[in-house]
Symmetry: C2
Subunit: 416 residues, 2 copies
């Protein structure tokens, strides 16, 4: 069967046409890693009152002017600020009130002398050995956020500190994009479940596990729908289940051309299904099928685990980010580092090639070593640290050339 392969740019354009999922409002403690669906403006001034940023004594700054170690200024200590309470005293001329970091500045005080520059003479008096400026060591009532000012923007992924700031502002619930649910179906008559001993000619289901973990890494929810034999009605039923329960359906074909053709036939049998992509000019990953059913994207992925993984890294990672409202599709989904290529590689012109590479540190540089070997081996996946893209119009890359490597997941392997 002949069909027109799409370029990866065309595929990105097609995927971008899908709408991000709807919003939901969540409590802060379950919002980590989710993407904001609205801009956040500060609902109030923060901290809302003048606070000390140091442990020390609240004073009138001008009373310290001229104070030095050899000529300290004397202060009468008239009380202490109780944490969390409005001080019941004002600070008069020549007076000091003891205050802790975070304490509320007493009336008529305009600065805090750090405790390090104060010597206690007796219970009611201190000497100050350094002058302070007005507002020194003080956070004013709107220093952190002014009411109405921008705090976070739509499309931001919520980090620990972002959640902390939302908590500080009293925003105990936050509007985020929904988390995509991904139905994962593994097909192929030769594929058996992981806990079954394969007979000769059979292999265990790899893709369900690879793709489910891939979804977790992307902050989405995999629904492992299990194995499906190469049977039209059964596969159709399984896809219908997926469309009902999930936001996108991923079918990884068995490796055979028969399975791929069957997947295509099932796709075409749906009334509202629109075939968008039938083959992509990349290697590995060429026999990828993409269709639309309503608002749902359905992917027919290559059966071979390494090919499915490449398609997932290149297209599905940005697609899942896009469904979650991430901006700048597909750029922000990749994590690339610069490396020197370890040896020459050849690439067929007219298609985009993805080489699995291992990264090694040599001095301060990263060396990307292409992993060669038979194309059907799954062991190469475990060896690899990332993918090296060779553009469509290139016939190869030279040893020592600077390249960018799409790293699978950096922190885990401690690259840096």
């Amino acid at each position: 069967m002949f069909f027109t392969l799409k370029t990866s740019e065309e595929v990105f354009k097609i995927l971008q046409e899908f709408e991000p999922l709807g919003e939901e409002t969540l409590p802060l403690d379950v919002s980590f890693g989710r993407i904001l669906s609205e801009d956040i403006l500060s609902p109030e001034n923060l901290p809302g009152f003048s606070r000390s940023s140091m442990d020390g004594y609240a004073v009138r700054a001008k009373d310290t002017f001229g104070a030095t170690e050899s000529l300290p200024a004397l202060f009468e200590v008239t009380g202490e600020v109780v944490m969390g309470q409005v001080p019941n005293l004002a600070v008069g001329s020549g007076q000091a009130i003891k205050i802790s970091t975070g304490g509320m500045l007493p009336k008529d005080a305009d600065g805090v002398v750090m405790v390090e520059y104060c010597s206690t003479l007796d219970d009611h008096s201190i000497e100050v050995s350094r002058a302070i400026s007005p507002q020194e060591n003080v956070i004013q009532h709107d220093d952190d956020f002014k009411k109405g000012s921008s705090v976070l923007e739509q499309g931001n992924m919520l980090r620990p500190q972002d959640l902390g700031v939302l908590a500080g502002l009293g925003l105990s619930r936050v509007a985020v994009y929904k988390k995509p649910k991904v139905a994962i179906i593994s097909t192929g008559d030769e594929v058996v479940p992981v806990d079954k001993r394969p007979a000769p000619g059979q292999v265990r289901d790899i893709n369900s596990y690879t793709l489910a973990a891939f979804c977790l890494r992307a902050g989405t929810e995999p629904i492992m729908m299990g194995l499906c034999v190469d049977d039209f009605e059964k596969l159709k039923g399984r896809i219908e289940d997926g469309l009902r329960d999930a936001d996108t359906v991923w079918i990884s074909g068995g490796s055979s051309v028969g399975t791929r053709d069957l997947t295509l036939k099932v796709f075409e049998s749906f009334k509202d299904m629109e075939l968008l992509v039938h083959g992509i000019s990349i290697s590995p990953g060429k026999p990828t099928i993409i269709a639309r059913a309503g608002s749902c994207a359905i992917f027919g992925l290559p059966g071979h685990a390494a090919s499915a993984m490449v398609v997932a890294e290149v297209f599905l990672a940005p697609f899942l980010s896009h469904l979650q409202g991430q901006k700048d599709f597909p750029k922000k989904s990749y994590f690339e580092i610069e490396a020197k290529l370890g040896r020459n590689i050849e690439s067929a012109s007219g298609r985009e090639d993805y080489f699995r590479v291992k990264l090694k540190k040599m001095g301060s540089e990263w060396i990307a070593e292409p992993i060669f070997g038979k194309s059907g081996l799954i062991s190469t996946l475990v060896e690899a640290d990332g993918l090296l893209r060779v553009e469509r119009n290139r016939e190869g890359l030279y040893q020592d050339q600077n390249v960018k490597v799409m790293v699978f997941d950096s922190l885990e392997r401690g690259f840096f």
Copy 2:
């Protein structure tokens, strides 16, 4: 009160003395991101039988020798390999059997001709226009993994592809280190819950949310134990609860010196508690307390959110990795990128300074812009992309100097 500050190297050494948590055995579908507690050797040969890595025809390679487009070799097609089954035919001289990718190689065949180089003449014969070598397009029975060979090593964090390979080998359960449970207690009389309107002098609880999300990011389980007022018995009871339910207890003090002293007194009141660290020579983060109770580490963190966050990034991230069996403590816990410093910064000699920085791309370079402003502001946390460490013996860094920035979390902000 005077005490001897520890350097960060000393603190790392102390933290490394804590034992990683025990192991547990988990099904693959809940093992993503967990760290292997044992080496994995292949329990069998994989794939276990000779398979085709292409769609095409299984033949005896020598029958194709000399075949070209102008002088193709003729083959009799005697059957087809059914996926997942042992072929019931052997390949005779001049014979070909149709085979799909992943199909089992028939007896007496030693290579596969890709379908692209075969022309169908009729139902029972093809012409082959290219010679193949023996074993071409064939994966042999132990090409992927030989029985007993190394698959993954103890201390590896399980990535999607690692789980796939384990599934392929039939290892449906895997031994990993336990996930640390972290009890988080927020103290300070001035702190109110996020859903309560603070009176003047009060602030909302930020640290519970920042630290809980931080634990999630590190793949651990936070237990938010809520607020605790500055009361000896109440704080002691809360810490006892934490010690019972969690593997490590984190108390973030209110900002005041009173709260810190109270935390210390409570620590000292436990019979089996050993005070390990009372102050670290870093800024921010100096007033950090670390104690040991049995196998459990207890941290008294600074009350200020930005300081607590720095201590978490610098010490608690590697500590949580260490508890989970990650090797090479603490190196692998940081994710650093190289940048040029945007302006001069001064640092006090004798302490390690951590500056919050914003990263900006200029051409192909990253510029690290220090975020200045009053030290008590939480808004700086939201602005910052990472931390810049200035070593103890440095008095500052110059503009345009090359520096390494510890990035908070890279993927989310799409740095690359």
